[in-house]
């Protein structure tokens, strides 16, 4: 080991006769310079490494950010799509219900027309002289006829007449009541007619 360490050095052909204190100072200065160079190098390497890492992190961040943005866009698109889907479904539902409603309305209109005709018939149909109607209404296809009569007989005649019209399947006298007004007797009655 000793041999090789000398051989590597080959020859020494310089001398330095500076005073020892100066040599020590120079050695110290050189040491400081070396330390500084090492320190600067270390800082440089670290900052370089940091810069690379920072760059990489930054790149990764950018990639993640872009991905997040894309994801957000996709999510938004998805929400919009779902909303549109829902809206389409709703629209369809609404359309169906509207159709249904329109059918109902149409039906009702038709019914209305029919009932109207029946009302007209009922109104136009000749009544006994002692009968006068106070209201005419319909409920679930049933007609309710409220009226007053001078006598019970007139009520019976009126029911018979309606029956003759052959509009209603069944006719009930749901109520009749005798009333006196200013010394005159009369009857109020309610007729329920089923179609």
């Amino acid at each position: 080991m000793a041999k090789s360490s000398v051989k590597k050095k080959k020859n020494k052909t310089r001398i330095n006769l500076l005073p020892l204190s100066d040599k020590i100072n120079i050695a110290r200065r050189n040491k400081v310079i070396v330390y500084l160079i090492v320190l600067v190098g270390y800082i440089f390497i670290l900052s370089g490494y940091d810069y690379i890492i920072y760059g990489k992190t930054n790149n990764a961040r950018t990639v993640v950010f872009n991905l997040n943005q894309k994801l957000e866009t996709i999510r938004n698109n998805n929400i919009i799509y779902t909303t549109i889907q829902k809206a389409i479904l709703n629209k369809e539902k609404i359309e169906t219900s509207l159709k249904k409603d329109s059918l109902i309305i149409n039906k009702l209109n038709r019914l209305k027309k029919k009932e109207y005709k029946k009302f007209i018939k009922i109104i136009k149909f000749p009544m006994p002289d002692g009968i006068w109607l106070t209201s005419l209404s319909s409920n679930n296809g049933n007609f309710i006829i409220d009226g007053n009569s001078m006598s019970l007989k007139d009520v019976s005649v009126y029911i018979k007449n309606i029956k003759k019209m052959k509009i209603f399947k069944k006719i009930y006298l749901s109520g009749i009541e005798k009333k006196i007004k200013k010394g005159n007797n009369y009857y109020t009655f309610d007729l329920k007619c089923k179609l």
Partner: protein, 431 residues
């Protein structure tokens, strides 16, 4: 990665500064300067009570001024302690781990140094020489200096607002420069001679180990010699003296080569004089020459002369040439000039060209092959008056060749200044 180094050598009353940037394996010289201290000011301090301090303050001010003027970098500044203050001890040690080696060197230094360890600073160099059994012997040289000198030098630079990175020795810087240029191909046993303006350094290297060194002071080769021949003779005599002393009582292989650096290192004539007088093969080691090897001089000059704006392109061409040269020569030191310095140094294109031609001429300008161009060049160059001194005399050398007596060295010439910067440049080299 590039690192800028500045090397400062205080050489008697001269301050040499060179700044270079090491980029990969290439050293690009950004700037250099040679400042001369005012001798009168220094002499005046000799009469003060605190003359050393005053002189040091003067030197510090000069260094500070030079750094501010040429805007040299203060980051990695190397310098050398004067050779007079450094003692070196050679010894060999077996190979061992670094901590043990440190202790072993400390023990050797303690044993050999006349001063206690608390009063000295020391460091060491070693080369590993492999033995026959595969083990390694560490041929070690310890350099020891008194702490107070080292502290004094550090204080000079501190006064100039410079924190030194290292204090070395001129010997190791020259050794490292030679290793940088020639590697292990310099030879087994050779001599390095660095000729400075007022001193000479001689180092003998054997088996890549600094075995002997000598410092010759106050030998002002420029002032004290009349011409290049006389300079060559003086230096040869010094080499001879050194070699005689070195060989006294020794029987080892002869010195193979002399490597000349510093003043005249780019001068082939001077090299030949030394070689002839010492009977040893001489080689010149010059930063200029290294620039020439690393890049084509002619191309430099051509580009500098024809198109200064394309300096950068020229430098690119040089790089290509470097690559080609690299393939050709295994050991190719890579030193270049910065574009700014290149512009500055080649500013005086005529002088630059002439210096190049005069210095790169391998042949001595004798009467038979002198067709008049060379002498014209030298005459033009010297007539210019900006570079070199000229006494216009010719001499015969030992082989009977006619030699020029022009001393080409000039303290104000950038090429010549660059030539003496090798020891400073060497401070930036080595391991």
């Amino acid at each position: 990665m590039s690192k800028t180094f500045t090397a400062v050598i205080i050489d008697y009353n001269y301050i040499k500064i060179i700044e270079a940037t090491k980029k990969n394996k290439t050293y690009i010289i950004n700037n250099f300067s040679l400042e001369k201290l005012n001798q009168n000011d220094i002499d005046a301090t000799a009469y003060n009570d605190n003359s050393v301090n005053t002189e040091n303050i003067l030197i510090a001010e000069e260094i500070k001024k030079a750094f501010a003027l040429r805007q040299f970098s203060k980051k990695n500044v190397f310098t050398v302690l004067n050779d007079d203050y450094i003692y070196n001890y050679n010894f060999s040690l077996p190979e061992m781990p670094e901590p043990d080696l440190v202790k072993a060197v400390e023990y050797e230094v303690k044993k050999k140094s006349p001063f206690p360890l608390s009063q000295i600073v020391y460091d060491y160099i070693y080369t590993c020489q492999e033995n026959e059994d595969g083990s390694c012997t560490l041929l070690t040289t310890a350099y020891v200096a008194k702490k107070e000198y080292s502290e004094q030098l550090a204080k000079i630079f501190a006064n100039a607002d410079i924190k030194l990175r290292s204090i070395e020795s001129k010997t190791t810087s020259l050794y490292n420069a030679n290793l940088f240029i020639y590697g292990n191909n310099a030879g087994l046993h050779y001599l390095l001679i660095d000729i400075n303006l007022i001193s000479i350094k001689i180092i003998i290297i054997y088996k890549n180990t600094i075995i002997f060194e000598r410092n010759i002071e106050e030998i002002n080769i420029i002032k004290n010699t009349k011409n290049i021949n006389e300079a060559g003779e003086t230096i040869s005599a010094e080499i001879q003296k050194t070699v005689d002393y070195y060989y006294a009582g020794k029987s080892i292989e002869p010195i193979e080569k002399i490597y000349i650096s510093g003043v005249y290192s780019n001068n082939e004539m001077f090299k030949n004089i030394i070689s002839n007088l010492t009977n040893i093969q001489a080689e010149t080691v010059s930063i200029l020459k290294l620039l020439d090897n690393g890049s084509s001089t002619d191309k430099h000059n051509h580009n500098a002369g024809n198109n200064r704006g394309k300096v950068d392109a020229a430098c690119d061409n040089d790089e290509n040439n470097n690559k080609k040269n690299k393939k050709e020569h295994k050991i190719q030191p890579l030193i270049k000039l910065s574009a700014e310095l290149y512009k500055k140094i080649y500013k005086n294109k005529t002088a630059a060209k002439n210096v190049r031609k005069a210095n790169n001429s391998n042949k001595l300008p004798d009467s038979s092959n002198n067709d008049g161009n060379d002498s014209n060049i030298i005459n033009n160059y010297t007539d210019d008056g900006s570079i070199g001194s000229n006494n216009g005399i010719t001499n015969m050398n030992l082989d009977g060749q006619i030699l020029s007596n022009y001393i080409l060295y000039d303290e104000n010439n950038l090429f010549d200044i660059l030539d003496i910067m090798l020891p400073a440049f060497g401070l930036m080299l080595g391991k």
